[in-house]
């Protein structure tokens, strides 16, 4: 398939728990194109977390190939994987995973400090711009415990954006948020996607999944269903006017 930013072929992941072999992925293949917004759904045990970890270069597949933005990731060592994560992947987690007692600005700046190639000249300025982009231009100096859940998640999104990655992986990004903040985050994702960023979002919530343009549903380590969303929701339309301004 043309312009695939993620191409996985025959992905197998087997865990050995004592004597039992658990097959989390059983030869899964998937292609995600540049600029796509994909939801990965599935019940627990379907293999979606395992897939996410492999896509995020946090884990090695047992067998199969993984091409991320033209790079064969399967054969890389820990240090090389760290470089790939730093340059090509932005993570958004369910639990936000910000450094505590560290300001929003410093949290966003953090991945740039680990950039060996110093692709971005002025980390501080880039971090500031990323925070403005997610609507937190006024809260640069706030620490995580001074921010609401939605704000913390937006800091996390800014941290994912700041390295100009090839792809953003979001693992249950709205799992810890109320419905109103969920809308805000989903609207932000749609805006980031509209700007051209490839997004992969793992969720178990069908309502949340419908904000993407394509849903991939897993079951027992294989793709059960892979289809475009027909009645796609526009999150920004459901927001109250005040919240819309943040995203303009």
């Amino acid at each position: 398939m043309k312009d695939g930013i993620i191409e996985v072929r025959d992905l197998v992941k087997t865990f050995s728990l004592e004597d039992v072999q658990v097959h989390a992925l059983k030869g899964l293949s998937l292609t995600i194109r540049r600029g796509e917004y994909v939801s990965i759904m599935g019940t627990s045990g379907s293999g979606k977390s395992t897939l996410m970890n492999i896509l995020g270069c946090l884990d090695h597949p047992t067998s199969g190939t993984y091409l991320l933005d033209g790079t064969a990731v399967s054969g890389l060592n820990r240090t090389q994987l760290a470089g790939i994560r730093n340059e090509k992947i932005g993570f958004v987690f369910q639990g936000f995973n910000l450094l505590s007692r560290t300001t929003a600005l410093e949290n966003v700046e953090l991945p740039l400090l680990y950039d060996r190639r110093h692709r971005i000249g002025n980390p501080k300025k880039a971090a500031e711009e990323a925070l403005v982009r997610v609507g937190l231009g006024e809260r640069l100096k706030h620490e995580p415990n001074q921010l609401s859940g939605g704000q913390q998640q937006r800091v996390a999104i800014a941290r994912a954006l700041v390295t100009q990655p090839s792809i953003i992986l979001a693992d249950e990004p709205t799992g810890n948020l109320d419905s109103r903040t969920t809308q805000e985050i989903l609207a932000l994702f749609q805006k980031v996607n509209a700007d051209g960023m490839t997004l992969v979002m793992v969720t178990h919530d069908p309502d949340v999944a419908r904000y993407a343009e394509r849903i991939v549903e897993l079951r027992d380590g294989l793709v059960l269903r892979d289809e475009a969303v027909i009645d796609r929701c526009k999150a920004v339309l459901e927001l109250p006017p005040a919240a819309k301004e943040n995203l303009s």
């Binding site: 970890n53 995020g56 946090l58 884990d59 820990r78 240090t79 760290a82 470089g83 994560r85 730093n86 340059e87 993570f91 987690f93 995973n97 910000l98 450094l99 505590s100 007692r101 560290t102 953090l110 991945p111 400090l113 680990y114 950039d115 941290r159 390295t163």
Partner: protein
């Protein structure tokens, strides 16, 4: 990651737990501080003792009579009355390497001055004795050759004798009776304090050698002859010159044993130095153990810190920190703890050395080399004890670390 940001990150995470960082450093502070203080005090007291010993006299050689042997019964050191005033004259006339020669005739006697009395040591000496033994006259005058020749009944008394016999008065010009012989006090010596062996060097009366020998003593026994060599490097040559001269004077045939012995201070200094050296070594090894304990404290805290910050490590790994970055970060944290602790420890140690030194009346010697060693040692301790926890942190798997609660 750049060095500046690594150090900044390490500092920030240490400052997040200021109390803990401080307590961890305390182990290092106490360790380094006690090593510095003890070594400074040890070297100081070594210097003090050397100073005390050389205050006995400069380049001093003491000629003692040999031991007697009569029918298999050996007397103690000095039991042979082999030294005489003639020996003193020989050494004084023929010696080329001597700055001063003085006999020492000792009489322990009761001294009476008016209504008070005191038992002290009366020493019959030559005028050079003052210089040989490093005594100084505080008031009045010392006697000269003329008084020696005329067996004059003059005496110069030490501070202790002056205090006991003439409390609150000026003894110069007063009369004292030594074994019922009246002597005129012409001067008072300045205080020399205790000798290295603990005897009071101020409890002494100096009088012309002849006066003591013939008026108070038995007229022949010279207890010892004090000789000072012209310089320290001539000590050995001066020693052999004494041997040659005295053997000639005593008409000893070649092969016959010397009937006198020569003592110098080097052996005393060596002994005292080795004693204080052993003490310093002992005390600093105890202090070194506390340094080790301080290092283990750092390792302990770093391990706790790694466990506590597992999630943080997971986040860092996820967003692209390489294992090496994490390793270096924790190593730097450990190094900062130990270096800061070491720096404060050096200051504390110097302060303690100074304070204790002035409290105990011991001088403290600050050896710059010691400070360099202490700094290097703390850095090594930090890296050594920081390595295991840092290694543990960098080996964490990002998925496990992120899931850690």
């Amino acid at each position: 990651m750049k060095w500046q940001s690594l150090i900044k990150v390490a500092l920030m995470s240490l400052l997040r737990n200021p109390m803990r960082s401080l307590l961890t450093m305390l182990g290092m502070i106490i360790g380094v501080g006690s090593v510095i203080a003890l070594v400074a005090l040890g070297e100081g007291s070594q210097k003090d003792i050397q100073g005390q010993i050389s205050s006995l006299g400069t380049n001093l050689l003491i000629v003692m009579p040999g031991s007697s042997q009569m029918g298999g019964v050996r007397g103690g050191s000095g039991s042979l009355g082999t030294l005489s005033m003639a020996d003193v004259e020989t050494l004084r006339k023929n010696g080329r390497l001597f700055r001063g020669v003085s006999p020492e005739i000792r009489v322990q006697a009761q001294i009476i001055a008016g209504a008070s009395n005191w038992n002290s040591m009366v020493m019959g000496v030559a005028p050079e004795y003052l210089d040989i033994r490093n005594y100084q006259v505080a008031s009045g005058n010392f006697f000269g050759e003329r008084e020696v020749k005329s067996r004059a009944k003059v005496a110069v008394i030490g501070q202790t004798v002056a205090r006991e016999l003439f409390p609150g008065e000026d003894p110069v010009g007063a009369r004292i009776r030594i074994r019922n012989v009246p002597f005129l006090v012409t001067g008072v010596l300045s205080s020399k304090g205790q000798s290295a062996m603990g005897s009071d060097q101020d409890d002494i009366i100096l009088a012309p050698s002849t006066s003591v020998l013939y008026r108070l003593g038995d007229g022949k026994t010279v207890r010892s002859i004090n000789v000072s060599a012209v310089s320290e490097k001539d000590m050995e040559a001066a020693k052999s010159e004494i041997i040659t001269l005295l053997r000639g004077q005593h008409r000893l045939a070649p092969g016959e044993d010397d009937d006198f012995r020569i003592r110098d201070q080097t052996e005393i200094i060596q002994m005292a130095t080795s004693v204080t050296g052993t003490m310093t070594l002992l005390l600093s090894s105890v202090a070194g153990v506390s340094l080790l304990v301080g290092g283990i404290g750092i390792m302990n805290i770093m391990l706790v810190s790694v466990t506590e910050r597992t999630r943080e490590i997971g986040i860092r790994l996820a967003i692209g920190a390489r294992p090496l970055d994490v390793l270096v970060q924790f190593l730097i944290e450990a190094a900062i703890l130990s270096i800061f602790g070491g720096a404060v420890g050096i200051l504390t140690g110097l302060g303690t050395a100074w304070g204790l030194g002035s409290l105990l009346g011991v001088s403290s010697v600050i050896n710059p080399l010691m400070i360099v060693v202490a700094v290097l040692f703390t850095a090594v301790v930090g890296v050594f004890f920081g390595f295991y926890p840092a290694r543990k942190a960098s080996n964490l798997h990002p998925i496990d670390a992120l899931r850690y609660e």
